[in-house]
Symmetry: C2
Subunit: 198 residues, 2 copies
Amino acid sequence: MSKEAEIREAAMRIFREKGYHAASMQEIANAVGMQKGSLYYYISSKQELLFKIFEEAIGSMARELEAIYARPLSPREKLREAIAAHVRAISQRLDMLSIFLRETRVLSPGQEEVIDIHRLRYERLLQRIVSDGMKSGEFRALDPKLTTYALLGMTNWIYRWYNPSGRFASEQIADIFTDLIFNGLLAPAAGGRDREGR
Amino acid sequence: MSKEAEIREAAMRIFREKGYHAASMQEIANAVGMQKGSLYYYISSKQELLFKIFEEAIGSMARELEAIYARPLSPREKLREAIAAHVRAISQRLDMLSIFLRETRVLSPGQEEVIDIHRLRYERLLQRIVSDGMKSGEFRALDPKLTTYALLGMTNWIYRWYNPSGRFASEQIADIFTDLIFNGLLAPAAGGRDREGR
């Protein structure tokens, strides 16, 4: 791991444990065995560190989704891959997502804008996979935006309950969520597939 | 609205806008047109106010779910009602949920315990509806806990994107989410209902 990545990981852990505001650069320096002065060689402020953490995480998720989108797969297969990648990314970045969702009004407006661009790029691409599948007839014609929010909710919410040493590996969670989203909860005999009285 | 409820509503708005830590009892008093001294007649501290806000919200969601559970409905109908009630509660309490998910380490351990009891009561009851439907054969036999987390994620995530003046009323969101969860995203012709190669 590069020194920068090591600093980011230590900072994420400390931010999550103590909260961003209570954490000090001194503690982050201690955690990576550096002098505080040397830490400033890598990073100019705690705020910049938080920004870099968010940017790296959300940027790499967006790049991964772009790679999936570019593959010669059907929308259905792309969505399966996208859910698996998203669940994996969240379960590997519980600290980051926790901080991202909890610490507001911390980044500068310019930094927030950059993070928002990545986030929107991600959400729009996921929505495009959903829309593509609706156009191709593989998916039912539900509202693409609400469907995308439903997917993001299911998968992002993992940060609240996922236990890395628990019963389920991230692959199993992705499989079960994909099955649920693709096939629904109703048993075929229960008269599923109807538009529920509408 | 009772004075207590009015105070809670003003506090929620101020907590959301400024963050819990930056908000002062003086501002809350101003917002409801009271002297700060009179405010203390109703509430002993900012911390107690936050606790009361959470307790009222989560307690009333749990009571509503208990009432649904007690009705003579099938698990499928109960789940439809539960999703509708949950989406309505979240969309009416965006401020509260935002604060709940963002402000950590603020309540006392005893207060946290009370909130956790309500939250767990809610989650277990929702899971029981899901399990009941799996036992009755109405729902497919997926993992009840993961299915419940998926439902909670989809619906709680609404706090991140819901716009009260936007395209969708909470009833429509509930309908579309219920349709998606019950019937799945795959079009019947696309070979849905298979266990996706597992």
